[in-house]
């Protein structure tokens, strides 16, 4: 493997790591910081991808918006969806055992999968990136690199910075983190914890749906896509250390490297490597890389 190829592979692992963090970001919020075991995270990601596909004609027809208009409309819808979901299905679950949340979100996976099949059918779809991001940059003599993947990586870094800033440097972030460690205490301090949780849950769902929409041109849109990302998202959040944004980002990059170079150097064991990595990290540091930030 000559140097040029090695550098391109590093770029590939960096880009996959950032994409992983983007996809798992909604989960770092709902599961990482709020402590809700949200198996339906994959479904939100799928909803985002299908929104990017299904909303495009509708948005174009109503006020002629392009890809970015779809992102805005989709995110607003997602916040509403998240708000309603929290009120209807999660508000009474916080005191209950974690396993009740597992059962509830398992039910939601089934419901979302079937509603998608009823609404949009079971075909495979593709989403075209917006024209200004549709080009490619030359990369070495043979390859070129799609500009859109750089945009995705950019969105991811922005999101990571934004979430890190909100949760560690603002009062809102402090309240949320306090709320997740001791709900009653924060309530007794006069903070309306019910409303706060609803807002944070809605934000978590919105980020997951946004990730689905942004990743759609790269990941394509097909039935059951939610399931394929679900486990890897939990791996990212847990390796990073539950509740730590920095940890999730580092974990995503680490998995990007292991998955990318694993496929190249150890193809027959490529499927296992990510899980070997997780087992090693958790056995070395049983609370993940960064204990709660």
């Amino acid at each position: 493997m000559d140097l040029a190829t090695f550098l391109i592979q590093c770029l590939n692992s960096l880009q996959y790591g950032l994409l992983l963090f983007l996809v798992a970001s909604g989960l770092t919020l709902i599961f990482g910081i709020m402590g809700v075991i949200n198996l339906a995270h994959g479904s939100f990601y799928m909803i985002g991808a299908y929104m990017a596909f299904a909303l495009a004609p509708a948005v174009a027809a109503t006020f002629g918006g392009g890809f970015f208009a779809v992102l805005v409309v989709g995110t607003v819808l997602a916040v509403l969806l998240g708000y309603l979901l929290e009120w209807a299905f999660f508000s009474f679950l916080y005191e209950r055992e974690h396993l009740q949340q597992v059962l509830m979100t398992y039910g939601l996976i089934l419901v979302f999968e079937e509603l998608r099949s009823l609404a949009v059918g079971d075909d495979v779809h593709g989403v075209q990136p917006p024209d200004i991001l549709a080009g490619t940059l030359p990369l070495g003599d043979v390859m070129t690199y799609p500009v859109y993947r750089l945009f995705v990586s950019g969105v991811c870094l922005l999101l990571a910075l934004g979430m890190w800033f909100v949760f560690t440097r603002t009062r809102l972030g402090m309240m949320i983190r306090a709320g997740s460690t001791n709900r009653e205490m924060v309530q007794s301090l006069g903070i309306d914890i019910k409303f706060l949780y609803r807002v944070v849950f809605a934000a978590g769902v919105a980020i997951a749906v946004l990730a689905g929409m942004v990743a759609a041109p790269v990941s394509s849109v097909y039935p059951g896509m939610g399931n394929t990302v679900l486990i890897i998202c939990f791996v990212v959040v847990v390796i990073g250390g539950i509740g730590s944004i920095r940890g999730a980002l580092l974990a995503a990059l680490l998995i990007g490297v292991v998955d990318t170079f694993g496929k190249v150097f150890v193809p027959q064991a490529a499927g296992v490597l990510v899980y070997v990595l997780m087992a090693l990290i958790l056995l070395w540091k049983p609370d993940g890389l960064f204990k709660a930030a």
Binding site: T5, D122, D123, V124, H125, G126, G140, V142, D259
Partner: protein, 385 residues
């Protein structure tokens, strides 16, 4: 005493009329995916099957057809139960299914144990018409070996010498690449590198970079559904499309062209069907299908349609009496099936001996280029039929 004779007489009359008017309804068990990634394929197969039955006025071999459906969820762990549900609870006379190879293997075992007639409308696992072949198991689709082998011949003829193959690490991918390698190396070509990634991982960047690094003459691939859409788009986005020609089994571009858009233009694939074959049977089939289902038919619809044809031929030969298994099987083995893909007959191991076409993508359609392999028969290795 009088009452008993009356009852006896009535029974006799009922029996004779039933016979005159044909036996009771024939129950066909459709075990196809209704949920999950293969749901669209399940629907297409069912549409094709029902189209042929409707064309025959709802009767095959003089017997009215009643459908019993089960969603196999493409889950091998539930396969045996779903088949038992059809055979033991609904006591179907014929089993039709399925898409997923793992599920098809379980169905084949139950069919062999119970002797029920099984028509496989898609799953390409070589073993179904190989070690698992049986007198009562027929396939109307293909074996993974066939498209691969045909593309091996095509690429050798085109003068490619060093080729890289890439696919998921699962049975269908391995068998397709094996078929390709057999033909390509027989014709003097060399497979430089066999790349693979775990199923259903769709992160191809790393391996695309490997392809660019090893600079082969061409690439052979086997992907389907969402994976196929993503691979074709990533391959084009990585700039490889213009420098290293991409070939593949037909599933790379079948049912995915709308999603792939311009990235798929010009791709050459091999499959036993194409979008515009032009023969009269295909034109009639496409018209009827479009009218009935408001959709364009694809290879899966054709395979469903032909599975129904095979059943029709078999039943006609035994006048609807499914218990005459040997006669029914012999009839299908001898028959020439007038399929939209072109007439074909089944090999000794009950897999279609069919023309494999070379197709090229243009204008969101897989246009016919020429016949890659004429009447290509699956070797049926391991079949003792």
């Amino acid at each position: 005493m009088k009452l008993k004779t009356l009852a006896l007489a009535a029974a006799l009359v009922a029996a004779s009329t039933a016979h005159a008017q044909g036996l009771p309804k024939l129950k066909v068990g459709l075990m196809l995916p209704a949920t999950g990634t293969y749901a669209a394929l399940g629907t297409a197969i069912e549409n094709g099957f029902r189209l042929y039955v409707n064309e025959q006025g709802g009767k095959l071999g003089g017997r009215e057809i009643e459908f019993v459906k089960v969603d196999d969820e493409s889950d091998p762990a539930k396969a045996t139960d779903n088949v038992n549900k059809l055979i033991k609870r609904d006591n179907v006379d014929v089993l039709v299914g399925t898409v997923h190879s793992g599920v098809a293997m379980a169905m084949a075992k139950v069919a062999k144990d119970t002797g029920t007639l099984l028509l496989v409308p898609n799953a390409g696992a070589d073993a179904v018409t190989g070690p698992m072949c049986a007198q009562n198991i027929f396939r109307s689709s293909f074996s993974n070996w066939q498209p691969g082998y045909a593309m091996g011949e095509v690429m050798a003829k085109k003068g490619h010498k060093n080729v890289v193959t890439i696919t998921w690490k699962y049975a269908a991918g391995d068998e397709s690449v094996r078929g390709f390698k057999e033909a390509f190396e027989k014709a003097g070509g060399k497979v430089v590198k066999e790349l693979s990634l775990p199923f259903p991982n769709v992160e191809f960047q790393a391996l695309l970079t490997e392809i660019a690094a090893s600079k082969p003459d061409a690439v052979y691939t086997f992907f389907a559904g969402g994976g196929a859409v993503k691979f074709v788009k990533d391959y084009a986005a990585a700039g490889l499309k213009k420098s290293i020609p991409l070939y593949g089994a037909g599933f790379l571009t079948d049912g995915t062209l709308e999603a792939q858009g311009a990235d798929a233009d010009g791709l050459l694939t091999t499959l036993h069907y194409a979008d515009a074959l032009g023969n009269p049977k295909d034109n009639a089939f496409r018209l009827a299908y479009a009218k009935a289902f408001k959709l364009q038919p694809d290879v899966y619809a054709v395979q469903g349609y032909d599975a129904a044809q095979m059943l029709g031929i078999g039943l006609a030969a035994v006048k609807g009496d499914v218990s005459k298994k040997a006669e029914l099987a012999a009839a299908i083995e001898k028959a020439k099936i007038d399929s939209p893909r072109g007439a074909f007959s089944v090999s000794k191991s009950h897999n279609p001996v069919q023309d494999i076409y070379l197709r090229q993508v243009s204008g969101k359609e897989n246009k016919l280029v020429n016949v890659a392999s004429k009447a290509l028969a699956d070797p049926g290795r391991g079949c003792k039929l």
